[in-house]
Amino acid sequence: MHVFLEAGIIGISLGAQYALLALGFTLIFGILGVVNFAHGGFYMLGGYVAYTCVSGLGLPYPVAVLIAVLATGALGWVFELLLIERLVDDHLATLMLTLALYLIISTGVLAVFGPISMEFSFPVGGAFRAGPIYVPRENLIVLAVCLIALGGLWLILFRTDLGRALRALADDRAVARAQGLHPRVLFPLAFALATGLAGLTGALVTPILSLSPGVGDPVLATSFLTVILGGLGSLGGAALAAFVVGIVEAYTSVYFGGSIGALVLFVLVLLLLVFRPTGLLGRETRGA
């Protein structure tokens, strides 16, 4: 029984991480109509920025995480403003731009840090025990921070004017513009918000998992899987799907081991597309 509970907590913790990634991804798609292939790149960059701050500059880990969020957010903001903005209505072109950015980020990281994985470990060790239940303390801290970030994101999107403006742009860009909203200001902000979330996840999770130039690829694949499952552009769907993916992954890896769980999950998502091409909570929205 305690194995079952432990796996559940790990699953929820994974789900919270995936939710931060998938919400960022789906924000960018929902608001701008852009598929962000660089999302895994921002995750990786978040990890490397935090690593540099901790081991290069000797900053405390929480400060390093904050700097990672700001740095990835700023890069996202600049990238949107300078490049994506010019071609924002061309789906294929923006996809190619983000793909190019991913290749450049990966190569840059490879050139600066080399191909080997970094010695980057979470500053808090030990485990939390409650009776027979045993959960690494780092997982609980990551879970707490992810949940706070998710709550903050919810507040921004549903309780502020900025959030209302962003959701209006996602609903109908033409109408939102006619109401006096400025995509030129809001698009870079949305992009920065999303890439900052990816950077936050990277800074939090890479010390637990690993930090090497290849870590972006599986993140990209998981983000894709999650948003397909949840329905492209649906925030609630992305969050729900992230927890489904995290929990399924945790249980299958405990009870079956290896990558069988991932395989089953991938195939299930494909089958879901047969019956519900718009995902769990998706609607027919964007003509993308």
Binding site: M96, L97, F224, V267, P277
Partner: protein, 329 residues
């Protein structure tokens, strides 16, 4: 009498038959016919190695290009390459190495697998298509790892025997390379015939899918046909790759290699069949210039894609064509 003749004339102009092959297609085929001369003229191992990589890359890029003709960006190429490549490697275990038979199998098996997948994937709109084809390549990786009795799992299948053509073994490097030329020529021929024959249909889908559909074009039929043939062509690329390495390994078919094939196609230019050919030749050649620092070539691809998307939409071939047109007028 007059009316009938006029009517016949009208029909002729309305459904003007495409010529079997156009200028670009003929040029592409001539390029690969000429390529046969390279292994016969030189014995340089470096030239052989680079040419062999190019011959594999060209086929894979053509598979991407077929779908791009309909404005669909496919990341599924490595998955279908894996089916083609592993088919050949597994058959090799049973000493089935006949070139004609294996070429047919490496084309048909991925194409067959693509039929149900196409039915699933092509109902989805463009963006979903990109994501789902990426996921397909991921699934293929996992399948390769999880079926060790068939595919050797993470070890792959080493020691794939060389192909035999009409009973004689093509074991020397030169003979292997000539066979790679043959596969590239075949793939080019298939791609050229398909995209030329359905040029207007594909162009209509690329231009405006909804409009094409409302004008009576059965869009899904052409998309499905393109997807199936692109899968077959990718299978040939997998065959050529396994034949080059004499090994079938999961890392050869990593989903992220799809990015390379897309880069070849976009940088070369999506306007004509010469695009993927020029793009893969130049980029693979450039990658080899990096020597032992080959991993940095990805950054070059990234920069080149940025340049093409922002400044030269036609890629190399499109830009050259535009320049020569301007120069002539």
């Amino acid at each position: 009498m007059d009316a009938t003749r006029q009517d016949a004339g009208m029909t002729e102009t309305l459904v003007r038959r495409e010529p079997l092959l156009g200028g670009a297609e003929i040029a592409a085929i001539l390029v690969f016919v000429a390529t046969f001369a390279i292994p016969l003229l030189t014995k340089s191992v470096l030239v052989y190695s680079v040419l062999n990589q190019i011959l594999v890359g060209v086929i894979a890029a053509q598979s991407v290009w077929i779908m791009l003709r309909m404005n669909l960006l496919s990341f599924a190429t490595p998955a279908f390459m894996a089916i083609g490549g592993y088919t050949v490697a597994i058959a090799g275990r049973f000493d089935i190495t006949d070139a004609v038979l294996m070429t047919a199998a490496a084309f048909l098996l991925p194409a067959l697998v693509a039929v149900p997948l196409g039915a699933l994937v092509l109902r989805l709109r463009g963006t979903y298509f990109v994501l789902v084809t990426f996921v397909l390549s991921q699934i293929m990786q996992l399948v390769l790892f999880e079926t060790p009795s068939l595919t050797g799992g993470s070890n792959g299948i080493a020691g794939v025997p060389p192909v035999t053509l009409f009973g004689s073994e093509l074991a020397s490097y030169r003979q292997m390379l000539l066979f790679a030329c043959l596969l590239a020529l075949l793939a080019t021929l298939i791609t050229a015939l398909l995209t030329r024959h359905f040029r207007q249909h594909f162009a209509a889908i690329e231009e405006n899918e909804v409009l094409a559909e409302s004008l009576g074009l059965v869009v899904w039929r052409y998309k499905a046909l393109g997807f199936v043939v692109a899968a077959g062509v990718a299978g040939l690329a997998g065959y050529s790759l396994v034949n080059m390495l004499l090994t079938a390994h999961p890392s050869s078919f990593d989903s992220i290699t799809a990015v390379d094939f897309i880069a070849y196609t976009i940088v070369g230019g999506r306007v004509s069949i010469l695009g993927p050919i020029v793009g893969s030749t130049l980029l693979i050649w450039a990658t080899n210039l990096f020597g032992t620092h080959g991993q940095y070539a990805q950054g070059l691809y990234g920069v080149l894609i940025l340049v093409v998307v922002l400044a030269a939409r036609g890629g190399i071939v499109g830009s050259v064509a535009a320049l020569s047109r301007r120069w002539r007028s």
